[in-house]
Amino acid sequence: MIRRFSAGLAAPAALAALLAAAPAAAKEDFVLEDEVAVCTGCHGEAGVPVEPDYPVIWGQQYFYIFTQLRDYGAGRRQNDVMTGIAAEYDRDQAKLLAEHFAGLAWPDIPSQTEEGDAALAEKGITGGQCSACHGKWQGDSRIPRLAGQQAGYLARTMEDFKTDVRMNAPDKNSTMKQLDDATIAALSRYLSDLDIQ
């Protein structure tokens, strides 16, 4: 997993290591703005993340953000950076952060679709029955918005499900194993280019 952050990100990686050492209970002297300032270092000042494989969290679903922070903190979702950060917050602090980011406007992400993506993506969507849960990709409550998400992050998280790295949504591992890498790549670009109605 080091590979993800080896791409010249000395500052955030060091920050994460620092944070990972912090205690797991409620963070003392919790001031929302200060915590948010930490997040923006990676998730972007205006909502556009600093790296292509970092997720957009501005305008993401409240309950999804909350669940992910809890899952990182409890080790149900394993990630070198986020585990350490999220472990510092208790339930209520995680809720405040989730509320804050859910209330912001989703940013515009530059389109990257390639010819043939739509056809391949739609085949993957049919096979995985994705729309049964993801609907029109707008997200709802515990289901994340995927429309307009960063293609790099979508591809990586789908690969992480496929290779059993990401384990906090158990059925996704099985579903993603049915998709080949080309389909995952096409799906990621296709979703990143969608808007919500």
Binding site: A132, C133, N168, D171, N173, K177
Partner: protein, 566 residues
């Protein structure tokens, strides 16, 4: 001058005439149509013979979806035209069954919007948007299948697992009750049913490790009257090795017994949702409903035993919710080929050829099952309406192909019957899938399938409309459709059945032989059950065209009412 004055007087006359006509229309509107009419128990009880209203999700308490009006018939249906189209605010999956009371129609959309419309014109009377809580956990789209009406109230179940009562005249909320915990996977997409002072409702959540139920709430206060748990504390059963049709389900009973001894009864997270309305028998004061799959769907290792009463027809006492009888179609199901389509009460022939009170259910397996209402026992099952292959191959880590795929057969889509022709009408899916198992512990409110169902993208998919003679179990007629079918069907005394498709086509067939008599392109998937009603002597057919989330059919937001062209 003379000319001018004569013109003026003409105008005057015209004005008088037209205002008189308006006044008359308003009077008729307030006395006959569009005015609030209290829905009495008598109206609800006699709905099967009511050719003006459409008072229950499935037409009447027996859930026949057989509409008694016959103005629109096999001879004139070719003249059916849209009378009006109403567009809702939400462009998303629609499964609503329009309810019509004295010229006022109630429809719902995804995310629990409710509309009251003038059933003659489609004019909006009111619009209620449910204040959704922050946590919802549902499977298969943000659906809603409609309201129940009684007295001066309209009732709806919500995605955040509430039951709400609205004022039928204004749409204002009168009360709401939390049915169960949304965070743990409970949600509501079904329409409630009302009997006397009780609102009956089941729950979704078989994909999340809930413990299913049917509950009765007080129509006036929303207070809980009774709860029937669809999963009893002893869910073990009889260690059935064969399904209702006699096929070996390949269970490893010894391994299951060992698992039971070590882990105990899995009833607390065993699933058993109830997705659709019960049939109500007021003579015996019993209700009949079907219970959905066990949780986790594909992984039987965590839930030893027959997993009672999942995948079963169940009857309970209307007044107390106490168990009366059940019949399990598939014990220890690991394919999600469960029981969802609402049961129908009607007279059927038993094995000896005598007419007895019966219950019909269209299964995801593709069979129509025929039961005795008396003790739930099975009289017969129909020929398979869709291809079946490799039944029952157990799910594997790599994925095993078996037909039908996990959506059926008959999904949640209600069937209809024609009690004169003694035929049941079902819409079916043919969607080849692989079944993959992957054991994971209970994830506390997250999706818990225990693997995945994957559509084999290269194999052909299609659907059909199938009429079955329920006295013999033989297929009477069958019509192939281009795409797998989900939504519902309506039969009418005009010798017709109406049903829609994912590609936007809405069709009428001759109910005796399946001949297609009429079609309309709605522009979005027609994946909701049609209703019918009559206002001012004019019969209408109405259906929602909003597409479907589960099968990813083109979304829309139209309610379309059809009537005969003059």
């Amino acid at each position: 001058m003379a000319e001018w004055s004569s013109k003026a007087s003409l105008v005057c006359v015209a004005l008088v005439v037209s205002s008189a006509a308006t006044a008359q229309e308003e009077t008729s509107a307030s006395t006959l149509y569009g005015d609030l009419q209290s829905v009495t128990q008598n109206m609800l009880t006699r709905a099967a013979g009511d050719g003006n209203n459409f008072l229950h999700t499935n037409g009447n308490y027996a859930q026949t979806r057989y509409y008694p009006a016959s103005q629109i018939d096999a001879g004139n249906v070719r003249n059916l035209r849209p009378a009006w189209i109403f567009q809702t605010e939400i462009v998303d999956t629609m499964e609503t069954s329009p309810i019509v009371v004295n010229g006022v129609m109630y429809v719902t959309t995804a995310f629990n919007h409710v509309y009251a419309l003038d059933a003659r014109t489609g004019r909006q009377i009111w619009h209620h948007k449910h204040a959704m809580g922050p946590v919802t956990t549902y499977c298969c789209g943000p659906n809603n299948r409609g309201v129940a009406v009684a007295g001066d109230k309209v009732f709806m179940g919500t995605l955040d697992a509430k039951l709400v009562a609205l004022d039928a005249k204004t749409g204002k909320q009168l009360w709401e009750t939390q049915i169960a915990e949304a965070e743990l996977g409970y949600s509501e997409t079904m329409a409630p049913s009302v009997v006397e002072n009780m609102v009956l409702i089941g729950t979704n959540g078989g994909e999340y490790g809930i413990r299913g139920f049917v509950k009765a709430f007080d129509t006036e206060t929303g207070e809980l009257i009774w709860t029937f748990h669809t999963v009893p504390e002893d869910s073990t059963g009889v260690w059935a090795t064969h399904d209702a049709t006699g096929r070996d389900m390949m269970r490893d009973i010894e391994a299951e017994k060992a698992a039971l001894a070590s882990m105990g009864d899995p009833y607390e997270t065993l699933g058993g949702g109830v997705w659709q309305n019960p049939a109500v028998d007021l003579e015996t004061r019993r209700i009949y409903f079907v219970v959905g799959n066990p949780s986790p769907d594909l992984d039987g290792s965590l839930r030893p035993g027959d997993n009672l009463y999942t995948d079963s027809l169940v009857s309970v006492d209307l007044d107390t919710g106490e168990y009366v009888c059940h019949f399990q179609y598939i014990a220890h199901d690991v394919w999600d080929l469960d029981a969802v389509s609402p049961p129908i009460l009607t007279m059927v022939q038993d094995e000896a050829g005598n007419d007895v009170k019966g219950v019909l259910h269209g299964g995801k397996t593709g069979h129509v099952y025929v039961h005795k209402a008396d003790d739930c026992s099975m009289i017969r099952f129909s020929e398979a309406m869709v291809p079946q292959e490799n039944m029952w191959t157990l799910p594997t880590a790599e994925g095993a192909r078996m037909l039908p795929g996990a959506n059926g057969g008959v999904e949640w889509s209600p069937m209809a019957i024609d009690p004169q022709l003694r035929l049941s009408y079902a819409i079916n899916l043919h969607q080849p899938m692989t079944y993959t198992v992957r054991s994971t512990p209970y994830p506390e409110g997250k999706l818990w399938l225990g693997g995945s169902f994957d559509v084999i993208a290269d194999e052909e998919q299609w659907g059909n409309v199938t009429a079955v003679d329920y006295d013999t179990g033989r297929i009477a007629w069958q019509v192939r459709t281009a795409e797998p079918m989900i939504g519902g069907i309506l039969a009418t005394a005009g010798g017709l059945v109406f049903t829609g498709e994912g590609n936007g086509l809405f069709k009428a067939y001759d109910s005796s032989n399946g001949a297609e008599l009429w079609r309309f392109q709605a522009g979005a998937g027609v994946n909701a059950p049609p209703s019918s009603y009559t206002v001012e002597g004019q019969q209408y057919i109405v259906v929602a065209a909003g597409g479907n989330a589960q099968l990813n059919y083109k979304r829309g937001n139209n309610i379309i009412a059809f009537t005969l062209a003059d």
